[in-house]
């Protein structure tokens, strides 16, 4: 129920507040009613046809760096 997928915005209709987004190259209609300042090219989390949030690329990279760092802990 709470599952949401990352999707890239490829077109926005400013009149309806609806956008077309690509989920792994599958196009879906997404409502932008719950988000502000979303632009074409942004990644958003899509849940039941609504963009819930923008995905923060810098934070994603930081998290991936944390994973890599964890594995570098020297063996005791």
């Amino acid at each position: 129920m709470c599952l949401a997928l990352p999707a890239q915005i490829i077109a926005i209709d400013p009149d309806t507040g609806m956008a077309t987004a690509s989920v792994d190259n599958v196009k879906v209609e997404v409502s932008l009613a719950l988000v502000d300042d979303v632009a074409v090219g942004d990644y958003v989390l899509v849940h039941v046809g609504y963009a819930l949030n923008k995905i923060d690329e810098d934070e994603a990279l930081k998290t991936l760096a944390l994973f890599a760092e964890a594995g570098l802990t020297p063996n005791p």
């Binding site: 599952l3 990352p6 409502s31 949030n53 998290t63 594995g71």
Partner: protein, 371 residues
Amino acid sequence: MKYISEFRQQGLARQLARAIAQTVDPDRHYRLMEFCGGHTHAIFRYGVQDLMPANVEFIHGPGCPVCVLPTGRIDNAIQLAERHDVILCTYADLMRVPATGRNSLLKAKAGGCDIRMVYSTQDVLKIARENPDRSVVFFAIGFETTTPPTAVAIRQAQAERLTNFSVFCNHVLTPAAMQAILDAPQPVSIDAFLGPSHVSTVIGSQAYEPFAERYAKPVVIAGFEPLDVMQSALMLIRQLNEGRHEVENEYSRAVTRQGNLKAQALMREIFELQPQFEWRGLGLIADSALRLKTDYADFDAEQRFSLPAIQAADVKGCECPAILRGAKKPQDCKLLGTVCTPENPMGSCMVSSEGACAAYWSYGRLSRKSG
């Protein structure tokens, strides 16, 4: 797929597993509750449990809205479709949940009721526009993630004067459920929580700060991908080793401390707290669910149609209630994999793609004492 495949890399999973093995204190047992069914499924689908040291145990939580909805509410929805001749719209997850008398929405639909599966609340509005002579009811269910889309639809229906649209509201709240687990008369022993993932995109990580403080339990907001779950487990183990109980945010690419303020404002505008609401497995929990405010009473299906409160019993032998409290595991249920399967579910935890029993069944965790 961007933001998915990077968080499923096998090499990094092995590194994280090594880091966890090095961090755990061999003399203690770590009981981590993953609140969300999405986490439960990630743990089994990707074999995360097998990468954990033996003294790190995942306790599966009640974070599956379909699972915690009491049977009486499904019976009410079927009544709406059968007796009030409405077009009942719902998300697919609810269609096969067992109702009283071996009934379900799917069976009621097969029996001639007009029940339609929708992907989005926008679909419900479309159905309402196309059927001005019929009453269209949205069977709304879900945690804080799924509530804002219902709120958008109600506001849009009001603006468009779609008077044939209404909502049968079953939206529930996660922090209240986490408290109820620890406030239970015989609470399950839990050391720390993997906090909700997409719920937190809406309500923000700060929503769990009073909980972590009051119960002195660490919470880490965790993404739903396997590496997210492992990193969050590592963060919880570190907190426990250091005697801390803070809210930390592993899922920072989508969750902020404040959450989605626009969605929160919309929820506040349309909904208010119900004094109490029944959860399967957890019983009546105060301030744990939402209802429509008086200003929006015209869109409240419970005001528009007479729906009696129904106390319905679960199927005999079904351990869903104890599983949802974390008191039992799916393999403790005699029905699991024998009479209860996803094709013929006896309890809600086998139906939902977030249910713990469905995870055990789907990913081959059925080994019992009998082998």
